[in-house]
Amino acid sequence: MSDHEQRTPVVLQGLSENDPHLQPASRNPAQVERVIAVCFVAGILCVAGFGACFWVNAKPWTLGATLGGGLSFLGIGLVAWGKYLMPQGPFVEERHVLANSQDDRDALAASIVQRGGGVVKRRKLLGGLLGGGLGIFGVVALFPLLRSLGPLPKQTLDHTDWRKGSYAVDITGRRVHVGDLAVGSIVTVFPEGTQNTDRGQAVDQTVLIRISNENFTTQKGRETWGPKGYLAYSKLCTHLGCPVGLYEQELQVLVCPCHQSTFNVLNGAIPEFGPAPRPLPQLPLYVDASGYLRAQDGYNQPVGPGFWERS
C-alpha cells in the first residue's frame, strides 16, 4: 500500500468523485471483491447452519462452531470491504479548539459567583438552614439504609454452637463413636443438630482426626483434650476462613487448599507455613459412658479469620 502512504491527507468534504483519495486501496478490486463474496457466502451458510443446529437441538459445540464461524466470516468480509474497497484517504479533519475565550470563562464564573453567590450571601440564615437540613437528612438517611441491610455483629463471631456435652456428629447426623475411626482417619464433625444448618456448616465445622489409640496431649494444659488419640480442631482456616480440608498423614499437618497455610496437628495446630497468623482452635473432647465423643466445652477463642473486635 505504499501508494496510500505517499498521498497527502486531504479534507473529505468537497472532493471530486474521481479524486484518488476516494478510490479503493486495493490494486485489484475485482479479485478482492470475489474473496469477500466467498467470505460472505461462507458466513451465510454458517449462520443458516446455526439455525438448523438449533432447530434439531444438535450438540452445543456445533451451535458455537456455526455461530462463531458465521460471525467471523461475515466480520472478516466486512472488515476487508472497509479496508480494501472503500475510500482510503487519508483524510484530515481539523480539531476545533474546545476551550473558550477568557471573557466567556469570566462571564460564567461571574454568573455563579455574583448572581448566585450574591443571593446566598444576602440570606445567610436561609442558606445555612437549608444546608443544615440537607446535611442532617444525608446522615440520617444512612441509618435505616445500613441497619436494614443486616444485623449488628454483636457477639456472633465470638462463639460457635459447640457447648459443654455437645455430641460430635458427622454430616449425616450420626454420632461419632470412639471405635469409629481407625488411626490416621479424619472426619468433619458438627455439634449435634447443626449439621444441616448454614451456621453449622460454615461456623461449627470441626475436623476430627485420630492419631493414635492413646490419650494425646497437644500442648501444656490440654492433657485431657485428646482422649483415645482423637483430636478436634476448628476447620476454619485462621487466614481467610476456607475449610482446612487437606490432611497429610505422614507429616501430621492440615493444609488449607486456598493459600497453603499449614498447621501442625501434633502441636496444637500452630501454623508452620503460609499466611495464617494463629493456630486452629482446639476443641476439648471426652468419651462419654456410652463411648460417644462429646465436647468438654466450646472453643476457648473465636474460630476463623481475624477481625477488629477479636480480643
Binding site: 491527507p9 481467610l240 479469620p305
Partner: protein
C-alpha cells in the same frame, strides 16, 4: 387530476429529489430536529488508523456480548439459596440436595437449548473484557494518551476496570458451586479484616454472618442491574468524551497537534468496526464452543464445610490471591483488639495503592514534568523512558503477583517444595520490578539512539561496478516515516497556536538510513 403526466416509478423518483426516499426522511427529520449539520459532521468524523486503537474496541464489543448473553442467562437463572433436590439432565448429581441457584445454573447448561454455549460465551467474554481493558489501558499509558486534556477519560476507564473486576467476581459467584462459594467465603473474610468497621460492613453486605441468606439475591441484582447500569453510563461517557475531544494520533505525515488524519466514520470506519464487532463475537462463540470454562457440574454444589483442591479465582482476581499467598502472617493483636494485617494489607491496602496510583498518575506526571500543555500527538514509548520503565515495572509487579496465585501448581509442576516456591515468589515480586525498571530504561535510551528506530526497513540496492566492486546504496525512506523530532517542551498548545513558521522549523526531518 393531471392526465398528461402519467404516474410512473420514474416520475415518483423525480418528485422526491436527487436523494430519493433517504433525502425525504432527512428533510422531515431536519424540519423537526435539525439533524443535518450535526449528522454530517458525525458521518465525516475522522478516525485515525492504528492497530493499537483496536484494543479498546475489543473491550467495548466484549461488553456488548456480555450484555446480550447475560440477558439470555437471566431468563433461566434463579437467585435463590433455597434447597431443592436435583433431578435433571446431569445424572451424577441426580438426587443431591443443592441450592436453586446451583440447580438452575446446571439446568441452563444442559436443559436449555444454547444455554451451555451462552454461559461459556458469557464467561469467556468477561475474561476477554477485563483483559482487553488492561491491554487498552497499557496502550494509553505507554503512548501518553492519558495526558491533558484526557485525564478525565483515563479516570473513567480506570473506574470501568475496577467495576469490571468487581462485577466479574459477583457473576462468578452466582452459580453457587464449590469453587465460587469458597471465593465468597474469602471475600467475607477480607471485608471482616477492615479495622473497626470490618465486622459491621461484612454483616451488612451479607445480611448476617457468613453465609447468611441474602448473598445470592443481592449479588444477582448488583450483577445484572446496578453495576451494568453504572457501567453502561460510564461507557457512554467514555465514548462521548472520545468524540468530543477527538482521537489522539501518532506523529506522521500531515499529522499535527491540531488535526486528525485517518478514515471517515461513514462508511469506512463503520464497516471496519462493525466487522470487528462480528469477529470479536465470532471468536467468543468459538471459544465458547471448543474451550470449556468453569464446569460447575464437576465442582459440585457449595457446601461450607467442603473444599476443592487447587482453588483459584478467575484470572482478573489472581493478583489479589497471589498477594494474599505471599504476604507474611503478620497479625497485630493488642489492647483487646486485632488488626488482621495478614489480610488487610495484601487484599485492601495493596490494590488501593495500585489503583490510586493509576488514578493520580496523570496529575503526578504533570507535576513532575511541569508539562501542562494539551497533547493530541502520541509518544513513542522509547521517547519517554522514565514513564515506560515505571509502567513496565508496575506491570511486572502485578504479573509476579499473578504467578504467585499459582504457588501450589508451580510446586507440583516443578516438583519442588511449596516453601521454596513461596520464598522464590516473595523475592521475585520485589526484585523483578526493581530489575525491569533499569533494563527498560536502558532499552528505551538505546532505541532513541537507533537511527530510524521503529521505522520500516527499506531495501538496500546492491550494485556491482564494472571493476567487480559491490556497493550498497539505501533506497529512499517511506514518506510516511518522516517524523517530527520529539521535543516535549516545544509541543504546540492548540489554545494558543504557535506562529506558522515554527511548523517548518519544528524539526521535521527525514530519517535517512
Amino acid at each position: 387530476m393531471s392526465v398528461d403526466v402519467p404516474v410512473t416509478k420514474r416520475t415518483k423518483r423525480q418528485a422526491q429529489g436527487p436523494y430519493g426516499s433517504i433525502g425525504k426522511v432527512i428533510d422531515e427529520l431536519d424540519d423537526r430536529l435539525g439533524v443535518a449539520k450535526g449528522g454530517r459532521t458525525f458521518m465525516d468524523k475522522i478516525f485515525p488508523d492504528h492497530w493499537s486503537f483496536m484494543l479498546g474496541e475489543i473491550a467495548l464489543y466484549s461488553f456488548i456480548i456480555l450484555l446480550v448473553t447475560g440477558i439470555f442467562l437471566t431468563l433461566y437463572y434463579i437467585p435463590s439459596q433455597a434447597l431443592v433436590t436435583y433431578h435433571g439432565a446431569y445424572l451424577p448429581l441426580d438426587g443431591q440436595r443443592v441450592t436453586e441457584a446451583y440447580a438452575s445454573s446446571v439446568n441452563l447448561s444442559f436443559a436449555v437449548r444454547g444455554g451451555l454455549l451462552m454461559r461459556q460465551m458469557h464467561h469467556w467474554a468477561c475474561d476477554i473484557f477485563v483483559g482487553a481493558i488492561v491491554v487498552h489501558m497499557a496502550r494509553v499509558f505507554f503512548t501518553g494518551a492519558f495526558r491533558k486534556p484526557r485525564e478525565l477519560n483515563w479516570s473513567i476507564g480506570l473506574t470501568l476496570l475496577i467495576l469490571a473486576i468487581l462485577n466479574g467476581f459477583l457473576g462468578y459467584s452466582l452459580p453457587d458451586d464449590l469453587v465460587s462459594g469458597t471465593g465468597i467465603r474469602i471475600a467475607f473474610s477480607i471485608v471482616l479484616s477492615i479495622p473497626i468497621a470490618g465486622s459491621y460492613v461484612a454483616f451488612w453486605l451479607f445480611g448476617g454472618n457468613f453465609p447468611g441468606t441474602a448473598i445470592l439475591p443481592r449479588f444477582f441484582i448488583l450483577h445484572v442491574l446496578i453495576l451494568p447500569l453504572i457501567m453502561i453510563g460510564l461507557v457512554g461517557a467514555h465514548l462521548f468524551l472520545l468524540v468530543r475531544q477527538k482521537h489522539t494520533q501518532f506523529p506522521g505525515k500531515g499529522r499535527t497537534e491540531n488535526n486528525v488524519v485517518g478514515s471517515p466514520m461513514f462508511p469506512v470506519f463503520m464497516a471496519k468496526t462493525t466487522g470487528f464487532l462480528f469477529v470479536v463475537g465470532g471468536v467468543t462463540a468459538l471459544l465458547g464452543a471448543f474451550a470449556q470454562i468453569n464446569p460447575i457440574w464437576q465442582y459440585g454444589p457449595y457446601v461450607a464445610s467442603r473444599i476443592s483442591y487447587a482453588v483459584q479465582p478467575d484470572m482478573y482476581m489472581a493478583f489479589l490471591d497471589g498477594a494474599l499467598r505471599v504476604w507474611p502472617s503478620w497479625s497485630f493483636h493488642s489492647f483487646g483488639y486485632t488488626i488482621p494485617f495478614e489480610v488487610f494489607i495484601p487484599a485492601i491496602i495493596l490494590p488501593g495503592i495500585i489503583f490510586n496510583l493509576a488514578f493520580l498518575w496523570p496529575a503526578l506526571e504533570r507535576k513532575f514534568t511541569k508539562d501542562n500543555a494539551l497533547h493530541n500527538l502520541l509518544d513513542r514509548p522509547s521517547n519517554r523512558p522514565k514513564r515506560t520503565a515505571a509502567g513496565v515495572a508496575i506491570l511486572a509487579f502485578i504479573v509476579m503477583l499473578f504467578f504467585a496465585s499459582s504457588t501450589d501448581l508451580l510446586a507440583n509442576f516443578f516438583h519442588v517444595s511449596l516453601e521454596e516456591v513461596l520464598i522464590a515468589m516473595r523475592v521475585m515480586i520485589l526484585v523483578v520490578p526493581l530489575v525491569t525498571y533499569p533494563i527498560t530504561y536502558k532499552i528505551c535510551k538505546e532505541l532513541q539512539l537507533t537511527k530510524g528506530g521503529g521505522k520500516r526497513k527499506t531495501p538496500g540496492i546492491v550494485t556491482r561496478s564494472e571493476e567487480g566492486e559491490y556497493a550498497s546504496t539505501p533506497s529512499p525512506t517511506y514518506v510516511d516515516d518522516v517524523h517530527s523530532a520529539p521535543a516535549p517542551t516545544e509541543v504546540p498548545c492548540y489554545i494558543y497556536p504557535a506562529p506558522e513558521e515554527t511548523e517548518e522549523l519544528g524539526g521535521t526531518r527525514v530519517v535517512d538510513r
